[in-house]
């Protein structure tokens, strides 16, 4: 089971999907074993079924948790588009200042080179 602190919600859901794939593969494996002409190997089928049930349980637990926490998630409650523009303006200021400093540095270098 993934701990909630280490993974994001999206990662946990992706793990659920991976488990579903594994569940399908196990079901296919059990069917293949049952279709075997010499008859199924009991221990193999048993292991597959145990793993199947464990995975189903994990999937259910994970989905339950995600559904609960999804209800608490409200995207963009506070819109930051205004401060974002302010940030872009600051970025342009920094760029401008840097270009001025570059020009100053160039002047100094030229001066030192000439001296």
């Amino acid at each position: 089971m993934d701990s909630q602190g280490q993974t994001t919600s999206l990662q946990r859901l992706e793990n659920v999907e991976k488990r579903i794939v594994k569940v399908l593969e196990l079901a296919g494996g059990v069917m293949d074993e049952l279709a075997s002409p010499v008859g199924p190997r009991k221990d193999l089928v048993q292991n597959h079924c145990l793993e199947f049930m464990q995975l189903i349980k994990d999937i259910q637990v994970a989905l339950r948790d995600e559904i609960k926490s999804a209800c608490e998630y409200r995207p963009f409650e506070k819109c930051d588009y205004g401060p974002r523009i302010a940030n872009e303006i600051c970025f342009k200021k920094v760029e401008y200042v840097m270009s001025q400093l570059e020009a100053m540095k160039q002047t100094i270098d030229e001066h030192n080179a000439a001296a």
Partner: protein, 515 residues
């Protein structure tokens, strides 16, 4: 007595080839039995008759059943309550079981194959969607994502209700698409993204290599669109203001997305919306964006109708400051012992500079730095300088306590002269102070330091300022005068511009001469 049978046999038949056939040797008893048997046919007749009777009975029963079935089919009198299969013979049961077992195995195999194929297909789809939703969730940290009704589509919503909806931008909604590999992509035409450009008019111009880069590129495009929407708003507000007010500027030209204004005194400017990529930000664009940003997003302290005036007054001040700075630099360049320092005012319509003079150290520790300050607000220049020392406050405290402050308002043309005069006066004050410290009595005028000689003559050091002098703007002369009253004879020796060390040496010489 016993009789042996003669070995004579009766001949049965003779064949053509001469072979003799004799009848079989049959016992007399056997003969009798066989004769008896030949006679008795009763049991055979009984079996045959039994079979015939059985068949007739069976025929009768079948007729009854058929009639019965016909009656039931028509549903008149009776319906079927239950039916049981006749018990199957063992071999029938076994073959049925074998067939159903084989069918079941085949079904299992097919189901197994179906599960495995589904697992593979699902795995591929999950991988594709993981890339798409991974990118979407990262972009959602910065941009509003809306889900379309009905179909599966998403859009990025850049709409901002702080904006005026006059120029409601069709750019506000950006559709989220998939590229060929199922990854997130947006379709934004760069020509539609506008930047603000400000300039002076001259009088007398995917496929992306990684998911990380895809997200970064999409984010960058969304930033461009977001800024473009803002720039359109700013342009519209400036447009509106330019038509409604006329303080400080005149509207001289209009084209689509282009405004031209005259600020007077031969300065014309333009503001236009151009495709991003053509413009390099200048500080004026940034400043316009900043002041309108505060207005749009609601600090709202200044009314909209004064923003443009404020901007152009700031622009005018900046142009004026550049001229002042040129004058100050010119003065400082020519006078080696002057230093120029800019003081930040953090105000767009105010500038300030300080000129420092540092005098050489003397034997007794005295004040060493003298300042002259130039402050410009809009187009008003004021000069502040340390003046003559207060008598009571020497050797103590800050310069405001020990020195008076001279204050002047002036215009650009007079600025160099006034500054040079202040500096020269500060030198005189310093020399005067030095003389006092060694106990020599001297007299001080604004630009002259004089000593009394025995016969009522005065020997003086006089400063002369000329901003246009290329050798050095402050030059010195030694003046000898006969008497204070008459000043009939004046000998003047021109010394030229002197360094502070030389001036100090000259002072020492004068002191030695006088005492």
């Amino acid at each position: 007595l016993s009789l042996d049978k003669l070995p004579i046999k009766r001949l049965d038949s003779i064949e053509e080839n001469g072979n003799e056939r004799f009848p079989l040797d049959v016992d007399y008893d056997e003969k009798r039995v066989s004769l008896i048997r030949r006679i008795d046919f009763a049991w055979a007749i009984w079996q045959w008759q039994g079979m015939v009777e059985n068949l007739q009975l069976a025929h009768q029963e079948l007729s009854v059943i058929i009639d019965f079935i016909n009656t039931v089919e028509t549903n008149d009198a009776v319906t079927v309550a239950s039916m049981t299969r006749p018990k199957s013979l063992p071999n029938e049961a076994l073959s049925d079981l074998a067939v159903s077992a084989a069918t079941k195995l085949q079904c299992y195999r097919q189901v197994g194959k179906y599960f495995k194929q589904s697992a593979k297909a699902f795995e591929q789809q999950v991988a594709r969607e993981a890339r798409f939703y991974g990118a979407l969730i990262r972009l959602q940290q910065n941009w509003k994502v809306k889900r379309q009704r009905g179909n599966e589509g998403f859009t990025f919503d850049l709409f901002d209700n702080s904006y005026d909806q006059g120029r409601s931008s069709s750019m506000s909604t950006v559709r989220v698409n998939h590229d060929a590999a199922g990854m997130l992509a947006i379709n934004v035409s760069p020509e539609l993204c506008h930047s603000l450009q400000f300039g002076f008019v001259s009088e007398t111009g995917i496929e992306s290599s990684s998911d990380e880069e895809c997200v970064k590129k999409t984010h960058s495009l969304l930033r461009d669109v977001h800024q473009a929407i803002f720039n359109e708003q700013v342009f519209d507000l400036v447009n509106r203001e330019a038509f409604n007010t006329s303080t400080g500027f005149t509207l001289t030209g209009i084209r689509e997305n282009y405004l031209q204004l005259s600020l007077g005194q031969g300065t014309s400017v333009y503001l236009s919306l151009v495709s991003t990529g053509q413009s390099n930000s200048t500080c004026y664009e940034i400043y316009i964006q900043q002041i309108y940003h505060e207005h749009i997003f609601g600090r709202g302290s200044e009314k909209g109708s004064y923003l443009l005036s404020h901007f152009f007054m700031s622009l005018a001040h900046r142009i004026f400051s550049t001229k002042i700075l040129a004058e100050l630099e010119n003065v400082v360049f020519k006078v080696p012992y002057l230093q120029l320092i800019s003081n930040p005012t953090w105000h767009s319509r105010g500038s300030s500079w300080t000129l420092f003079m540092e005098v050489p150290p003397s034997i007794l520790r005295g004040k060493r730095q003298f300042w002259t300050k130039v402050v410009v607000i809009d187009d008003c220049i004021s000069v502040k300088a340390e003046g003559s020392p207060n008598v009571s406050g020497l050797f103590k405290g800050k310069s405001e306590d020990t020195h008076s402050i001279n204050k002047y308002d002036c215009n650009l043309a007079d600025l160099p002269v006034i500054i040079l005069q202040q500096v020269a006066s500060q030198i005189i004050n310093w020399l005067y102070h030095e003389a006092l410290m060694v106990g020599i009595k001297a007299n001080r005028d604004f630009l002259c330091l004089s000593f009394e000689l025995e016969q009522g003559e005065t020997l003086g050091l006089v400063a002369n300022v000329d901003p246009k002098d290329s050798d050095g703007c402050i030059s010195w002369s030694l003046v000898m005068e006969d008497s204070e009253v008459q000043k009939l004879h004046t000998n003047r020796k021109f010394l030229g511009p002197l360094s502070l060390e030389l001036l100090y040496a000259t002072l020492i010489d004068l002191i030695a001469f006088v005492s």
